[in-house]
């Protein structure tokens, strides 16, 4: 049973002891970065780069007062809504167009153009169209996420293993069975690759849109801090943004682990590929 041996190897590399060591190293790097930051703030002055201590106390005050959490939840809501609105059609479209390669070909230059266009430059336009409320931010996030996920899903549909389809057809599978039992599950890992890449963009997109014009959200806090020469305020908003990105990453990974239990662990896949 080669599988069991692989598991044992995997355990040696990624087992509890390995995880603890990795976490300890990560903590070490974090402490080093804080030390550099602290040293810089002492040399250049808190006015320019703030300091870890200032940020931490402002952060806890903001969380305790509820103000920071309120702004964060606006940003999170914009990012989450835009993420869903952008990702769902992006994942569905290549699956729906699988049997219509002519349509896919017509769409291709549009999609490539949309993928390449700097979406953040659209933010002013969206604010013009949708106002300074949540709608313009959701639209910006959605369009950013859409193109990333579309191309991942398209790659998933194109990576379809023809032999699996033939096997299923010999066994009596209809076109619908093939789409449901072979094309769709085969594309899911690719869609998740797109979702993982798109996730930070969704939060970044929301923050940038808020920077340009908003009266709430983390981007607004950054803008407010800049206007008041309040570097601590800017850094505090950035730390919160980063935490949201972590949360988003963790959520996507959790859903992926749940849905893709059938996949061999990553180290096994690499062995198979080499």
């Amino acid at each position: 049973m080669t599988t069991l041996e692989h598991d044992r190897d995997g355990a040696r590399l990624n087992g509890p002891a390995g995880v603890v060591r990795a976490r300890a190293n990560q903590l070490l790097v974090l402490v080093a970065l804080f030390a550099i930051w602290q040293a810089l703030s002492m040399k250049l002055g808190v006015y320019w780069v703030s300091s870890p201590w200032h940020v931490i106390s402002r952060f806890s005050a903001g969380v305790a007062g509820g103000d920071l959490l309120r702004h964060a939840s606006y940003t999170l809501a914009e990012a989450a809504a835009g993420f869903v609105i952008g990702a769902l059609p992006a994942a569905a479209l290549p699956l729906a167009l699988r049997r219509l390669p002519a349509v896919t070909a017509v769409l291709d230059p549009l999609m490539v153009g949309g993928y390449g266009a700097p979406k953040l430059a659209l933010a002013p336009l969206f604010i013009l169209w949708f106002g300074i409320g949540i709608e313009s931010k959701v639209a910006l996030v959605a369009i950013t996420v859409f193109f990333i996920v579309y191309f991942s899903a398209l790659a998933g549909v194109r990576a379809l293993d023809v032999k699996l389809v033939q096997m299923a057809q010999v066994m009596g599978a209809s076109e619908r069975d093939v789409a449901r039992h072979i094309v769709f599950p085969g594309a899911v890992p690719y869609v998740f690759t797109g979702l993982r890449i798109a996730m930070p963009y969704s939060i970044g997109g929301a923050v940038i849109a808020e920077l340009i014009s908003a009266n709430r959200g983390l981007g607004y806090l950054v803008q407010l801090g800049a206007m008041n020469f309040d570097t601590t305020g800017i850094f505090t908003a950035l730390v919160m943004t980063t935490l949201i990105v972590f949360l988003g990453n963790w959520s996507v990974n959790a859903v992926e682990r749940r849905l893709l239990r059938w996949r061999p662990p990553a180290d096994l896949r690499m062995q198979a590929g080499s």
Binding site: T2, Q166, M167, Q169, V170, G172, D177, R263, P264
Partner: protein
């Protein structure tokens, strides 16, 4: 004599020629043979002789350039890719060289897959699947995913996935090719045991002469490309056969020599 269940008549195949090149060579030309109901036919041929192409055409996942395949005296058009009917409405099963298990389904879900898409998932067919799983020693692995199984287990799963829906003809394309000698012998024994239960009609392609003799009622020899039938041998070794001791059977040596001389 009854009509053959499956008949291959004057079958030919050449792949589409590429632009800027001459016509592709014939892979198969003028190939004819027939299979009786309940017969275990083995076909041996050198690698590159078009064995897989032949089975792909019979299973109707590939077109033919000429000739026809008849099932119960009924011919199907094989020249038009749009008119192909893969598996001939579930009457021709096909165990391919690779196991082609769906990686996102557990062993049991893979075995039940054909029943599911054919709308035949009943208590009765589930019991049959269970029986087959136990017969090949997979009962304890029904909730494992394919990547968690050994090569031999994957082969067994892919084998019973076709047996479970009971197609009248089963094509097998070197199903045990990639396995070690020990596992392969076990699987050959499993296959003969399962075949004995239902006496399906089997067309089993291999490059291993000993395997062809050990399993078959009759062995056809394919020539080098363009493939046609170079010889036919009735295997008279009585069943049930002892796979592990087959090479010491008095008839084995002469059969092996005769077939060996034709496989070039």
């Amino acid at each position: 004599m009854a009509d053959p269940l499956l008949e291959v008549r004057d079958l030919s195949k050449r792949f589409a020629s590429r632009a800027g090149r001459g016509p592709s060579p014939w892979v198969i030309q003028g190939l004819s043979f027939s299979v009786k109901e309940g017969e275990f036919l083995t076909i041996v041929g050198p690698s590159g002789a078009g064995k897989t192409t032949l089975l792909n055409m019979i299973a109707q996942i590939d077109t033919a350039s000429g000739g026809e395949v008849r099932f119960q005296s009924e011919a199907s058009p094989l020249n038009d890719p749009k008119a192909l009917n893969p598996g001939l409405s579930c009457r021709i099963g096909y165990v391919t060289q690779e196991d082609n298990l769906l990686p996102w389904r557990t062993t049991l879900q893979n075995v039940l897959f054909p029943l599911e898409v054919q709308g035949r998932l009943t208590a009765e067919t589930r019991a049959r699947a269970d029986l087959l799983m136990r017969a090949v020693g997979l009962a304890d692995f029904e909730h494992h995913y394919p990547h968690e199984l050994s090569g031999g287990m994957r082969k067994r799963a892919s084998l019973i996935r076709t047996l479970v829906y009971d197609p009248p003809v089963i094509l097998m394309d070197e199903p045990f090719g990639a396995l070690d000698a020990q596992t392969r012998m076990q699987l050959q024994e499993d296959l003969l045991r399962l075949w004995n239960l239902g006496r399906k009609t089997i067309v089993f392609v291999t490059h291993d002469i000993a395997e062809a003799i050990a399993l078959g009622d009759r062995t056809l020899v394919l020539s080098r490309a363009p493939a046609h039938i170079a010889g036919e041998h009735i295997i008279t070794i009585p069943r049930p056969r002892d796979i592990r001791g087959i090479m010491t059977h008095p008839e084995f040596g002469a059969l092996y020599q005769r077939i060996r001389a034709q496989v070039q």
